[in-house]
């Protein structure tokens, strides 16, 4: 059960508060979308789930995030272990300046898989899972930069899948992609949601409506509303949510 329980989460950058007392439970499996206007803290929120905010020295986090009942911010938690279980895909495709094969093999290798055949199997499986295998199987040794933007983003998804996470975070994964590449990623998301708990930040409300099972609306660092996607878009309970989704704000 990889549900994510967020309890009284507060995040500061220096003395500027980015998240205010966020409480929510992201259910196991399925897709949860985080929407909201720029600067509402949605990226900060998703980056607290795999503790990526830790690398920013000015960042301070209070509260709890429980996965399988264990607090990710607990005293004896290994950050690298957290990030191994919670994968992340970023706004812009960010493959390593290495071959396609090496991009995928990188993470399993640092986590201890040395056997060549096992690595090759992981590479193939991850690429198939990210619907990229057929396009790249003949040029695994070519630079990842030879791929198109959409292919690079799917490569980054495959890279995240290679360490077999339970949760995958997507931070606006389509913001740098064209509509066709975006559609492919969305198909892929729907494909992954039976196996993984997917959390996606998006500034594109149609995208949230299309792919997400649940949607959360953030505004000025606060969680305003969280619920079933259809319900949130059709009958929002909060007036702020309604103003945002009807385009009168943000």
């Amino acid at each position: 059960m990889s549900s994510i329980e967020v309890k009284h989460l507060n995040v500061w950058f220096d003395d500027k508060q980015a998240l205010r007392d966020v409480n929510m439970t992201i259910p196991n499996k399925g897709i949860t979308a985080i929407i909201g206007p720029s600067g509402c803290g949605k990226s900060t929120f998703i980056r607290s789930i795999n503790r990526m905010n830790d690398i920013i020295p000015s960042c301070r986090v209070e509260g709890q995030i429980l996965v399988e009942g264990k607090d990710l911010y607990g005293p004896d938690v290994d950050v690298t272990e957290v990030r191994k279980r919670i994968g992340m895909v970023f706004q812009r495709p960010n493959p390593f300046p290495k071959s396609i094969y090496e991009n995928i093999a990188y993470a399993p290798r640092i986590h201890g898989t040395k056997d060549k055949r096992k690595l090759s199997a992981i590479v193939e499986h991850s690429l198939r899972r990210a619907a990229l295998w057929d396009e790249v199987k003949d040029r695994l040794d070519k630079s990842a930069y030879d791929l198109s933007g959409g292919q690079q983003q799917r490569l980054c998804i495959a890279r995240a899948l290679a360490i077999d996470p339970e949760i995958i975070l997507f931070d606006e994964p389509c913001s740098a992609l064209d509509p066709i590449a975006t559609a492919k990623i969305e198909d892929l998301l729907s494909d992954l949601k039976d196996e993984y708990t997917v959390v996606i930040v998006t500034h594109n409300m149609q995208q949230a409506a299309r792919v997400a099972d649940q949607t959360a609306y953030f505004y000025l660092g606060e969680l305003i509303e969280f619920g079933d996607t259809t319900q949130l878009f059709e009958r929002p309970e909060n007036e702020l949510t309604e103003r945002y989704i009807t385009g009168r704000m943000g």
Binding site: N50, M52, I55, P57, T80, E81, V82, R83, K84, G87, M88, F90, R92, N94, P95, F96, P97, K98, Y106, A107, I110, H111, Y145, C156, R159, A160, I163
Partner: protein
């Protein structure tokens, strides 16, 4: 996106957009200024080559480059073999590189990845400041203090040996290396670091497997450029050890570098004589060595600008 060369790309853009303000007189003036700089390089090269012609003609290129004795002031048997001088330059630069590379790279990695931003904000300018200290100051330190330490540590009668020069040159190389290599590492996009951290890599794994490979060509270029500094250095070398043109690779011996030879002997050589001309020949060889190293460094740097878009 790959650039064939940056200036080429830039001039194409200028051609397309017309850059109106740079037509006419300003264009001409800037062109002439650029031409002057380029002419200086050609003039220096021509000056060296012309001056050296006599030596190469009379002594012979093989004897000059392959001769094992440098004794141009001998009355009976003057010898103009450059090999001892090249060995001297090589030995001193090699010692300096062996000392400077590990320290410089360690320093770079600390500054780039480990140091707190506030610490880096103080340390990096401080190290870069060291690059601006005149070489005679380093030479003075080598002459007055360092040689004593070298003599004591290695049990020598005097510390005026090649190693003393190597150490002081290493001290002079490190700031250049650190400054350039740190720039190369800092130029690695943040997104690549984040990608690696997000996969559960530690800082060290990220450094070793992502950041260093991505910035390797910049780091290698930094090393080459700092070695060039050592090869070309004259004053600190002159002051650090006894200039004796021995063909040896013994770090505890005095040697004589190419730069020091020109500096010392130019004053005593008769203008227009063979000795005078042979010093120009030394200059030509030195010029070629630095030109080759610079070209190699530039090639590597160009490749590094293509490593990530």
């Amino acid at each position: 996106m790959k650039y064939i060369n940056r200036t080429g790309a830039l001039s194409r853009v200028a051609g397309r957009t017309g850059l109106k303000g740079f037509d006419g007189a300003p264009h001409l003036i800037l062109f002439i200024i650029t031409l002057i700089s380029a002419t200086v390089l050609v003039t220096v090269a021509a000056f060296l080559i012309l001056g050296s012609l006599q030596a190469f003609r009379v002594i012979g290129i093989v004897e000059m480059l392959g001769g094992t004795v440098w004794n141009p002031t001998s009355f009976n048997n003057p010898a103009f073999g450059m090999l001892p001088l090249m060995a001297g330059t090589f030995l001193v630069s090699f010692l300096a590189a062996v000392i400077a590379i590990p320290i410089g790279l360690g320093c770079t990695i600390y500054l780039a990845e480990i140091a707190h931003p506030k610490v880096r904000a103080v340390l990096k300018p401080a190290i870069e400041l060291l690059a601006g200290i005149p070489s005679v100051v380093y030479g003075l330190f080598a002459l007055l203090i360092l040689q004593g330490w070298v003599a004591q540590v290695f049990g020598l009668q005097t510390g005026y040996v090649a190693l003393n020069g190597g150490i002081i040159l290493a001290v002079m190389m490190i700031p250049i290396m650190v400054s350039l290599a740190e720039d190369a590492i800092a130029a690695v996009p943040r997104e690549l670091r984040e990608a690696s951290y997000a996969l559960g890599a530690t800082r060290w794994e990220t450094m070793r497997s992502v950041i260093l490979p991505a910035s390797m060509s910049g780091i290698v270029a930094a090393i080459i450029l700092s070695i060039m500094r050592a090869v070309g250095e004259t004053m600190a070398v002159l002051m650090a050890f006894n200039q004796t043109p021995l063909l040896t690779l013994d770090p505890f011996s005095g040697v004589q570098t190419m730069t020091a030879t020109i500096a010392i002997e130019m004053g005593e050589a008769a203008v227009g004589g063979l000795h005078y001309s042979s010093l120009f020949a030394v200059g030509v060889v030195l010029f070629i060595i630095t030109l080759v190293m610079n070209t190699v460094a530039n090639r590597i740097m160009l490749r590094y600008s293509e490593a990530y878009r």
